[in-house]
């Protein structure tokens, strides 16, 4: 994006040097030459700053205030600068901290399961003896193409205690799955998320598998390595980068869990509360008109996600050097 890398690259590309040199003759050196690339970046930079950086800064700034009213509160509330109030409140808010714990548990269990499934699917489709690769690739990817809210609605029907076709199928066995039990409901949500996202992650891993040089695989085969051995010793290490990437995406996704539990909430019989996940908790604060508190919760969540992702990157990178 900036000037420097292009300058480094320039000597390597001999044939191209003619054009820039002619241009330098036509326009005076210095300023305009630097402005050019900046101008090309401008649309991106402006949008990036206005739509991405500014709102984040605004939310962080907003979180430093608390809402104050008096009496019956019939005049507009004032916002008082109290930088730590909202943060202290969030950390003492049992339902918010519980929601953080909930998504952490969700991430620890669901992410490895989903990525394990995605990896297994990718390896199966990639294996030499696989038939109908196109078909399986497409069908496992289709859930991702369905909007999250629609998927959650369909699943809410599958889970509903009055209409669940799953439980109706199990009826002859005298078994019912209590999808909305307090202890089960998180895993009912995890099931929807896995269903929606396993295929997406599978495609990323599968794409990485395609980049393994055929000679390497052939050499391994000639040396008598079994398909399992090739998968374990060559393919999985080769897609390590893709696995790290999908893991970080999934960690972030878990922290931001919202659509699925929010859709299931009205039919959950109270087992999904209004603060089931951190984002739902912040959303409740927004609905109640308390923007600063919602902003503080969001900032805390963002910091937590940032830290977890960073630690994860550090851990995996250390492995690289060893």
């Amino acid at each position: 994006m900036t000037h420097a890398p292009a300058a480094h690259r320039a000597p390597a590309r001999r044939p191209a040097t003619t054009t820039p040199s002619r241009r330098t003759r036509e326009t005076p050196p210095g300023r305009p030459r630097r402005l050019g690339p900046l101008l090309f970046c401008a649309p991106f930079v402006v949008l990036f700053v206005a739509m991405y950086i500014a709102p984040i800064l605004y939310a962080a700034y907003n979180s430093l205030f608390t809402i104050r009213r008096s009496g019956l509160g019939l005049t507009a509330p004032t916002e008082v600068f109290a930088p730590l109030d909202n943060y202290a409140r969030a950390l003492h808010d049992g339902s918010f901290t519980a929601s953080l714990g909930r998504v952490a548990l969700f991430g620890v269990v669901q992410v490895p399961l989903m990525l394990g499934l995605a990896l297994a699917l990718a390896l199966l489709i990639d294996s030499k003896s696989a038939r109908g690769k196109g078909f399986f690739r497409l069908t496992s990817f289709v859930p991702y193409a369905i909007p999250g809210v629609s998927a959650a609605l369909v699943w809410s029907f599958m889970y509903s205690s009055t209409s669940s076709p799953l439980n109706r199928l199990l009826e002859p066995l005298a078994v019912t799955v209590p999808f909305f039990d307090e202890d089960v409901v998180l895993w009912s949500v995890a099931n929807i998320v896995t269903w929606s996202w396993a295929g997406y992650n599978m495609i990323i891993i599968y794409a990485a598998l395609q980049s393994i040089p055929a000679e390497v695989l052939e050499a391994a085969r000639m040396d008598g390595a079994s398909a399992l051995r090739i998968a374990w010793s060559i393919k999985i290490p080769a897609v390590r980068g893709a696995l790290v990437l999908t893991t970080v995406f999934s960690i972030i996704g878990s922290a931001q869990l919202y659509n699925e539990p929010a859709v299931l909430q009205p039919v959950s019989g109270g087992s999904i509360s209004s603060a089931f996940t951190p984002l739902m908790s912040a959303q409740s604060a927004v609905a109640a008109g308390n923007y600063p508190y919602a902003a503080a919760q969001s900032v805390l969540l963002a910091v937590a996600v940032g830290m977890v992702s960073l630690i994860f990157f550090k851990l995996t990178r250390r492995g690289d050097h060893a």
């Binding site: 507009a76 009205p266 109270g270 609905a287 969001s298």
Partner: protein, 432 residues
């Protein structure tokens, strides 16, 4: 799920931007116009039929030009948009606001007192509706519709079991037991949440909020509320309440196939039941709300909305003229009944020809039941200043209670505690 975070963090900024964009489209609040100039008023709402009503008003009132803009229904984002616009100083003069949200708006300084224009019209409205748009001595808008309650019941099912529509809550429980005994898949009713539940408390005079001197009083955990809560808890404990949440597909199915026998609900439930449970056509009927004491005539209310005057409105006279017209003009309201099934808050409109018998309800003149119930709606009910968070907390508890985890009384006292805590935290005066 994945992409929503950035959007969320940015919600403040993004909304501000969005509003800055919409602000340009001329939602300026009226103008101090010269006499020969038209007064222009902007009105935000979502009820179907409002747009046509505005057209009719403009045609018949050459001095005022009302611009109607459709917004998301209140709880789905409309209220937030209005509050943001007030904060940004570019709010419309008028907005559709539910009665339950009026005090929350007032407590955010989002409403404007128009008592000087409005006071003479007081007698034209039912007293419960009028009370809903006033707080202390201020009048914040004009009532449009109300939601007096009654008992919707599956007459075919009741007849087949030799049951009469219950007149007391004791009879209602007995009917529930008989219905459940006839088939364990049949239930007398289904779980009531937030404002539907509030209507049950309203009937019993079990106030949730009040204003005492200059402080708010919160009484969701009062003895009267406990009485109502314990009654419904008793029905839950005897397994007489279906698990199908209201407005869920399972609920409509139950209403249609006779496994959910009654709905204690507001007048607009007629449209909800008719629209969602087509198979129930001809089976349903309406009776007055069961009473706590035999012979009493007490009625609750659920829902209803006003045309509120938002803070910053400059031409309050013109704003009031339209708001008053919308809720009281016979022709306009007749169309609103047809289009949006609104039920009038103005006493003169209770017998409009558009409120007619319906074959879905076996040809019964159901609106006569509601018209008779309307004067008996307790006018003393007051909503609180933080209704959104109050009902969010309440629903968390009620959801569990209706499925047998925890009790309704606990849900109410939890909502009471967290509401009071939040009010104190924001600095509102709370009476002990």
């Amino acid at each position: 799920m994945k992409r929503s975070f950035i959007r969320f963090v940015g919600i403040g900024g993004a909304l501000t931007l969005a509003l800055a964009a919409t602000g340009c489209t001329g939602s300026s609040s009226g103008s101090d116009s010269a006499p020969d100039q038209k007064a222009s008023i902007t009105f935000w709402g979502w009820a179907p039929g409002y747009e046509d009503a505005v057209k009719a008003f403009n045609a018949s009132h050459p001095g005022i030009e009302v611009t109607y803009q459709t917004v998301q229904p209140g709880a789905k984002g409309g209220y937030q948009k209005m509050l943001n616009a007030v904060k940004a100083g570019n709010a419309p003069c008028l907005a559709q606001v539910g009665y339950e949200t009026m005090p929350s708006f007032a407590a955010q300084g989002a409403l404007q007192d128009v008592a000087e224009h409005a006071a003479p019209a007081k007698s034209e409205y039912q007293s419960a509706a009028w009370n809903s748009v006033t707080l202390s001595n201020a009048v914040y808008g004009a009532p449009v519709d109300t939601g007096p309650m009654a008992l919707f019941y599956n007459k075919k099912l009741f007849d087949s079991l030799g049951l009469k529509p219950p007149t007391t809550w004791a009879e209602y429980r007995a009917a529930g037991e008989k219905i459940h005994a006839s088939d364990p898949k049949r239930f007398i009713s289904s779980p009531y949440q937030d404002y539907d539940y509030a209507g049950l408390a309203w009937q019993a005079g079990a106030d949730w909020f009040g204003v005492e001197k200059d402080a708010w009083k919160v009484s969701m955990a009062s003895a009267e509320n406990k009485k109502v809560a314990d009654y419904w808890q008793g029905l839950v404990d005897k397994d007489l309440i279906s698990s199908a949440p209201m407005y869920d597909q399972a609920w409509y199915t139950g209403l249609g196939n006779g496994t959910i026998a009654t709905v204690v609900g507001a007048v607009w439930q007629a449209g909800v039941i008719k629209g969602g449970a087509k198979e129930g056509a001809g089976q349903w009927a309406v009776a007055p709300m069961p009473q706590w004491e035999k012979g009493d005539k007490k009625v609750g209310n659920a829902g209803g909305s006003a045309t509120a005057v938002l803070n910053g409105c400059k031409n309050t006279a013109a704003a009031w003229e339209f708001a008053h017209w919308l809720g009281t003009d016979k022709d306009a309201f007749g169309k609103l009944i047809e289009k949006a099934s609104l039920y009038p808050a103005a006493s003169d409109l209770l017998y409009l020809p558009q409120l007619k018998a319906d074959p879905y309800f076996g040809g019964q003149q159901i609106y006569e039941v509601f018209a008779a119930a309307t004067p008996d709606v307790d006018p003393e009910w007051t909503w609180g200043p933080l209704m959104t968070s109050t009902v969010t907390d309440l629903n968390d508890g009620l959801g569990k209670a209706w499925t047998g985890k925890g009790t309704i009384a606990q849900a109410l006292s939890h909502a009471q505690d967290s509401t009071v805590a939040e009010m104190r935290k924001q600095g509102l005066a709370v009476a002990p």
